[in-house]
């Protein structure tokens, strides 16, 4: 291990990117947890910071790294620890890619319950640390609902676990939930146990279009009394319809409602038919294999490299009004409408001032009804003005206490997470 000076940021390319245009002073790629613990202890002793990395698909997420330090590459810790498939759980090391994990589950016709873009690169640890998920969250939940056990290396260089490998367990504090979405700021996730489920036999994506978002809102609301039980309810604005659905025949220039159902073949057929009768309109349907590309595109929308991207969390009933309030032509937006989540991608050129104005306006609309807006991506220099994590929340004070308890010297991913910067 080569621990050098940690007092200044190295020039590019250093020992590899840390995100936000900053570079690592060293990179470690431990092959055992024991080695990882030693790395953390050595970096702590050298006074640097530790930046855990998986597939490097989300390095720019959050605020910029605050202090020079070392990257810790987890991709060598990538094995299956235990896959009792008949129990529908799997325990893997954090550095395994999500695609590799899915390939293992494929052997038993099972699947992961949350969708991760760039799954061929993104690791299980990275996906959990960012809490990423996609359209199926309506039916299948978020990563926090899948995770039942976690191990992580703390700033003290020791591996700690919480939860376990059984689906029901209330012994000890729920570290699995605490670590999920913590962006590596409490420790380095080394291992996780996840619930998995059988792949459904059939699937369909229904879509219909409208000139404005408001009529789609009534359709979304109707699912609260409908006989249909969708796994996903998505709304795409005209630009997103064009970008995502062009290849499968969605019309650009229109607003699109996409409803996904998954179950056995009879149920899916019945639900499609039922929706046709309830909605009283005709629509297009992609079934089974033919639906796969659009499902993937819907999950991958958030992973585009647009320089400006935001995620708003709202009450589902506010989605249409929120979308209608965004400036046409400036955003391509996708809503997980059943969950109240809007993913916005900036279109064309922006100046910092324009971006700040647009983000402030959208954020104000989100906050009005108890929602929030996070800037998922923007140029590093804009981050202070755009306030990546939004308005400070009252509960961040508790978060800071937990951070101080588990990482008193701010070793882990310093500066990046909500409430820190």
């Amino acid at each position: 291990m080569n621990v050098d000076d940690r007092s200044a940021w190295p020039d590019a390319p250093g020992a590899g990117p840390l995100g936000d245009g900053r570079y690592a002073a060293a990179v470690h790629r431990p092959t055992t947890v024991a080695e990882l613990c030693e790395v953390v202890k050595a970096e702590a002793a050298a006074g640097g910071a530790v930046y855990p990395q998986g597939g490097r698909t989300g390095l720019d997420f959050g605020l910029p790294p605050a202090r020079p330090g070392a990257a810790v590459d987890l991709t060598a810790l990538a094995d299956v620890v235990d896959y009792p498939h008949a129990d529908m759980t799997i325990t893997v090391r954090a550095g395994m890619t999500v695609a590799a994990l899915q390939a293992i589950l494929d052997e038993h016709n099972q699947r992961l319950l949350f969708e991760v873009p760039r799954a061929d690169r993104a690791t299980v640890g990275g996906a959990l640390a960012t809490g990423v998920c996609g359209p199926r969250r309506l039916g299948l939940g978020r990563p926090r609902d899948s995770i039942i056990g976690v191990s992580f290396v703390t700033a003290a260089g020791v591996e700690v676990k919480g939860g376990g490998r059984v689906v029901k367990n209330v012994a000890g504090y729920d570290f699995p939930k605490l670590l999920t979405g913590s962006l590596g700021s409490l420790g380095i996730i080394t291992q996780a146990t996840l619930k998995v489920r059988p792949r459904p036999a059939a699937s369909a994506l229904i879509w219909l279009t409208a000139d404005r978002p408001e009529p789609l809102d009534a359709r979304v609301a109707a699912f609260n009394t409908s006989s249909v039980r969708p796994t996903a309810i998505e709304i795409l604005d005209p630009s997103a319809s064009q970008a995502l659905g062009g290849p499968v025949g969605l019309k650009g220039g229109s607003w699109t409602l996409i409803v996904g159902v998954e179950d056995d073949a009879d149920s899916v057929a019945w639900q499609v038919d039922r929706f046709r009768r309830e909605a009283g309109v005709d629509f297009d349907v992609l079934r089974d294999e033919a639906s796969a590309p659009l499902w993937s595109a819907l999950a991958a929308f958030q992973a585009d490299d647009a320089p400006l991207a935001c995620t708003a969390s709202l009450r589902p009933s506010r989605i249409a009004a929120f979308l209608a309030g965004l400036r046409p032509g400036r955003w391509a937006s996708q809503a997980h409408a059943g969950n109240g989540v809007v993913r916005m991608r900036g279109l064309g050129e922006w100046t910092e001032g324009e971006a700040a104005e647009a983000v402030d306006a959208a954020r104000a609309a989100a906050v009005r009804d108890g929602g929030n807006l996070v800037v998922a991506r923007c140029p590093t220099a804009w981050k202070p003005r755009l306030r990546v994590w939004g308005e400070p929340r009252g509960d961040w004070a508790l978060g800071r206490k937990i951070k101080a308890a588990l990482d008193p010297n701010g070793l882990m991913n310093p500066g990046r997470f909500a409430g820190e910067g």
Partner: protein
């Protein structure tokens, strides 16, 4: 002022009465005895005072007074804890949430409800009837337990197999911290930037403060369901069938097992029509879209038959209000009330094994029963691998008590050995503190302690619960006498 309050708390009692009114404070010895224990009756501790705040502001003031007077405090909901979660260790003030019982808001469109902590689980269920949505956690104690208590224990129930436990249905809480500050954690929208503090708080058994309000997420009601009663010659056959169903990739809404001892007790009490000769029955429920359910029910029947079972009843339903449906679940949920007919004293254990290990653990329990000469009855959430062996004994017989305790320990140790847990839903409370070091390493416990101390620095809030902080591990000398779940 009465002479029975501990002298040190007399000024505190006076201040509490000034704050809450005389009818908001109990401090006479005869009034306090009721609060000396919860559903876990083996250990007792009488609080110095019990208070009944009616608002968050009052809870804040109570907590501040406790801090000023340096006395411990503990929240209590309905007191149905089976792990001694509400025990006032070291005395002090018990904060009862039962007068904070308003359903503040129901928003079916946005699928949430806001309730005060003292709202009883089933009140919300009733209030939601006909809206098309429901609150999924349905502990067997749902007619008594509070949603604040469900949050504190991360309660489960028969239908949490498919829908998930309490944590999967809580969006946020209003918390009065141990220092007496009000913090809004999470909110009505699903995603919030920052740590998942809701995730950490649910299941923390009152050690991070007093929950005064809860924002729960609501699920769509199923379009239809089938509930099957499957009858088996032996317990082994029934749990082999459970493993078979799970392994076949079927995710039932509920999958509960009742063994012969319990069948007889339930029949004697409720005359539901369970076959008293059966070695075991399974209640197997599938729900979702009607069109899919006949296939699923058929697949389940085949698995049942392959394991020597027969389908005794099959109920098709559209709502959970249908009488036959309600009857079967009433029989299941009231099972515990029937145990008294079988044994003078009993202790319900709570352990978890991987679901495929159910046949093994059931055989193991039979061995334990033979070795210790102690009868063990079973009625539990089989689909989750969540056991509730009911250990039957006579507390007048010290030797039986010893053997019952041994049986209990052997079973939980075997759960750990199989990669399971010592509690799936009842919690650690005070009861299982000594078992934490068997599940977790000193490093794991040190990290949990660090988080505990960060949020509860003076350890005045619910001391000696959940994790072994400050040497509060008590060795059990008796297995307790408790109602099961």
């Amino acid at each position: 002022m009465t002479a029975t309050a501990a002298p040190t708390t007399i000024p505190l009692v006076r201040e509490l009465a000034a704050l809450l009114g005389e009818d908001g404070v109990l401090h006479r010895r005869d009034e306090l005895v009721v609060y000396e224990c919860d559903g876990y009756v083996i250990e007792k501790a009488v609080p110095d005072v019990v208070v009944f705040p009616t608002s968050t502001e009052q809870v804040v003031e109570v907590v501040k007074l406790c801090n000023q007077h340096d006395v411990p405090f503990v929240p209590r909901g309905a007191g149905t804890s089976l792990a001694g979660g509400t025990l006032p260790i070291g005395g002090g003030v018990m904060i009862s949430l039962t007068r904070m019982k308003r359903i503040v808001e129901i928003n079916a469109r946005d699928r949430y409800a806001i309730v005060e902590a003292g709202v009883v689980n089933v009140w919300l269920t009733r209030a939601l009837a006909g809206t098309g949505v429901h609150f999924a956690p349905d502990p067997s104690s749902q007619t008594a337990c509070t949603i604040g208590g469900n949050v504190a224990t991360n309660a489960g129930g028969p239908h949490t197999l498919k829908y998930g436990v309490t944590i999967n249905h809580v969006r946020g809480v209003e918390l009065v911290t141990p220092e007496g500050e009000v913090v809004q954690i999470g909110g009505v929208v699903e995603d919030q930037p920052g740590f998942d503090l809701t995730g950490l708080l649910v299941g923390s058994e009152g050690t991070f403060g007093i929950v005064t309000k809860v924002i729960v997420g609501l699920c769509r009601d199923p379009e239809a369901g089938r509930t099957l009663l499957a009858v088996f010659p032996t317990v082994e056959d029934s749990v082999e069938a459970v493993s078979g169903i799970v392994a076949a990739g079927i995710v039932p809404a509920a999958l509960e097992m009742i063994d012969n001892l319990m069948i007889r007790a339930v029949e004697a009490a409720f005359h539901f029509g369970f076959p008293v000769e059966a070695g075991a029955v399974l209640i197997i429920e599938v729900d979702g879209v009607d069109a899919a359910l006949d296939h699923e029910a058929q697949a389940i029947s085949e698995i049942v038959q392959a394991h020597g079972g027969t389908i005794d009843k099959a109920i098709g339903w559209r709502t959970r209000e249908e009488p036959e449906y309600k009857a079967i679940w009433k029989a299941r949920k009231m099972a515990f009330g029937a145990i008294g007919r079988v044994s003078p004293t009993f202790c319900t254990q709570d352990g978890v094994v991987p679901r495929t290990a159910l046949p093994h653990i059931l055989r193991f329990m039979e061995g334990v029963s033979e070795r210790t000469n102690i009868r063990i009855a079973n009625v539990f959430h089989a689909g989750d691998g969540n056991l509730h062996p009911i250990i039957l004994f006579d507390e007048q017989d010290p030797d039986q008590v010893k053997r019952a305790l041994q049986a209990s320990h052997e079973i939980l140790d075997e759960c750990i050995r199989l990669g399971g847990s010592v509690t799936g839903e009842h919690g650690i409370g005070v009861e299982k503190l000594a078992m934490m070091p068997k599940l977790f390493t000193p490093d794991d416990l040190a990290a949990m302690t660090a988080v505990h101390d960060a949020l509860n620095p003076d350890n005045r809030c619910s001391p000696a619960k959940k994790i072994p902080v400050g040497g509060h591990c008590i060795e059990r000398t008796s297995p307790g006498r408790r109602a099961p779940a």
